[in-house]
């Protein structure tokens, strides 16, 4: 079943959308007087060639991490729009832990990762509590809560934790050795392994466990799973804590990688949260699809920058390309929608 679904997903709508996107992109390129083959070639070699693959894998770490973070609740029909806040809190918490932990460096790294996850998880749970007990839809509570978290981290980086003398809003650098080991000379760190492990765990949970089954059924019809005893509030809390934990992990990985400090705005600047959410939405939160979509977007981001360096083509083109692919995919892709009770009821009452 899994296999047919993957091949089916790969075969029809995805391929169609990517091809359509490339075609429209090519028209754009011709319009600006550029050669589409050169430009697309530059994207591919820039992202997957020897010089670019490191950057692609580094970017994939963040994009995939956040895509997973947002896919986990999405599988049950819950949309977490607060990825930015959870990410940043994870990052700043890891920074604080790294700066003040009395433990030896390797243990501090572990502690910082755990602390970052805990902070992200805790904050996401807050949004879940708003939905469970205060009746504010998760979509809104997570989005609104995100802003104060970003402001708080920004405040901490600029005042209590700031690096003296620096013009940048950034914390002091973590002590020597408080860093995730990198592969050779590259910027790819152990963080990638952690995120890939998380993806594997998600796949396993989704396909092979009772909990994963409950999550899927909740996404398809929440009243059905509630009737059979799946406790919705508890599940929301669980999923949001995992979601926030993963976002926090990505933040912690960011801080424990070069430049080994929390720089205000650097975690949210590249827009990983949106890219991740889009990847998760496109894949209907299915584990493998999410991984594929996240990697695809990472390739586009890194390759787009490379294309801009080597050709005259502005990078916005890859952004446009990405959006067009999504539009095409979305138009052909049905997704179990639960964010609007009315809509779901109507579709269930066939």
């Amino acid at each position: 079943m899994t296999r047919t679904r993957i091949s089916g997903a790969l075969r029809s709508p995805l391929t169609f959308s990517v091809l359509a996107g490339l075609l429209i992109g090519a028209l754009f390129l011709l319009g600006t007087g550029a050669d589409p083959f050169t430009a697309y070639g530059a994207v591919l070699t820039g992202a997957l060639g020897g010089d670019g693959i490191g950057a692609t894998l580094t970017t994939s770490t963040s994009v995939l991490g956040l895509a997973l973070a947002l896919a986990v609740p999405l599988r049950a029909g819950l949309i977490n729009l607060g990825g930015d806040g959870q990410l940043v809190l994870g990052g700043i918490t890891a920074a604080v832990t790294g700066l003040y932990s009395p433990l030896p460096a390797p243990l501090t790294v572990v502690l910082a990762l755990l602390a970052g996850m805990a902070a992200g998880a805790g904050y996401a749970v807050l949004a879940a509590l708003c939905e469970n007990h205060l009746g504010v839809p998760l979509l809104v509570s997570s989005l609104l809560l995100s802003y104060p978290a970003v402001s708080l981290a920004s405040y901490l980086a600029r005042y209590p934790l700031k690096e003296p003398g620096s013009s940048l809003p950034q914390t002091r650098a973590l002590p020597e050795g408080v860093a995730l080991p990198a592969f050779g000379d590259s910027t790819v760190t152990l963080g990638l392994v952690l995120v890939v492990l998380a993806a594997a765990a998600y796949w396993f949970t989704d396909r092979r466990t009772a909990l994963g089954y409950e999550i899927r059924m909740t996404g398809l019809n929440s009243r059905f799973s509630a009737y059979a005893g799946v406790e919705r509030r508890g599940l929301t809390l669980k999923l949001m804590s995992v979601s926030g934990g993963l976002a926090g992990l990505v933040g912690a990985i960011g801080v424990l990688s070069f430049p080994y400090r929390f720089v205000d705005g650097s975690l949210t600047g590249p827009g990983y949260t949106w890219t991740g959410l889009t990847a998760a939405l496109l894949a209907g939160a299915a584990p493998l699809g999410t991984v594929v979509a996240a990697f695809f977007f990472a390739v586009l981001q890194v390759g787009g920058l490379a294309m801009e360096r080597t050709t005259e083509v502005p990078r916005e083109l890859t952004q446009v390309l990405q959006a067009i692919v999504i539009v095409f995919l979305a138009a052909r892709l049905r997704f179990p929608s639960r964010w609007f009770h009315r809509r779901s009821r109507e579709s269930e009452a066939v």
């Binding site: 010089d51 013009s167 705005g265 502005p314 990078r315």
Partner: protein
Amino acid sequence: AAKNDASDSASGAGGTSFTLVTPDAVGQNEFLKLAVTGVKEAAKQHDGTQKVYESTDTASQQQNVQAAVDAKPDVIVLVGFEFADIVAQQAQKNPKQQFLIVDACTTKTFENVSCAVFREHEGVYLAGAEAGLLSKSGKVGAVDVLDTPQFRRYSDPFAAGAKQVAAKTETSTRFVGGQSPFDDSARAKEQANTLLAKGYDQIMAAAAAGNYGVFEAAKAKGAFAYGVDVNQCPSAPGTVVDNVVKRTDIAVEKGIEAVLGGTTGTTVSYGLKEGGISLTGLEAGVDSSKCVIADHKDVLTKVKALRDQIVSGELKVDDPAAS
């Protein structure tokens, strides 16, 4: 977009090459535009080639620096304090590669990293003095992008300069903030409005793209504003009094020159004295600058005196970013 100078690259096949990496899109960012001018000028002078890699966020900054290092040009020029950590890392890994950072420096010194920094606060101080002299209400303020030490360089010395010439001046600073602080001109305009509503009539605008919003607000209330980096007077003639000009182009040119001449690993500071920082009003061509200050020669005379004091070291301006 990558700005390959085709004609230069043809002639300078074996010549020198320079790569400029910017922290943000160049766009209308006057400071970065000047850096591009500088590196192009340097390429022309040394019969070499140049490339510009524009970044948008920390991830792309790192990728661009990596790409620049991989291409091994003679000098990699980086503009902005964002690059301090990245350069420190890359300089260590690539001891043969020469780097020039403009507007910042690494904490440790490296043999292959040269730095050029500015003392903007000196120019801002002079602008503040103009504001203090011109203010009718006795209230001068500033609108900064964010509350960071770097941006405070555009507000604190402004207040100090005004108080220097008019001790009773009231001062206040607003920060644009929000979701998109560098682009949000509507927010910048509202921030300026809150100052104007309180009677502030001279406003230093260090709000990046938001400057245009600040100028609009000032213009609507008949108040005055001060621009940064280049002459911004033409975007709101009659409203913009003067500008704190930062000659990034000179810093880039001179920096490259020094590196090619074998002087590496040094830090050069540009201020009023070196001509790296100035006011439009103090430069030649002030009369055709469309700046309000052109009509206030008396003010300029007093400001020139202050400048001379700073240049001679007689007067010291506090640097908010140094604390």
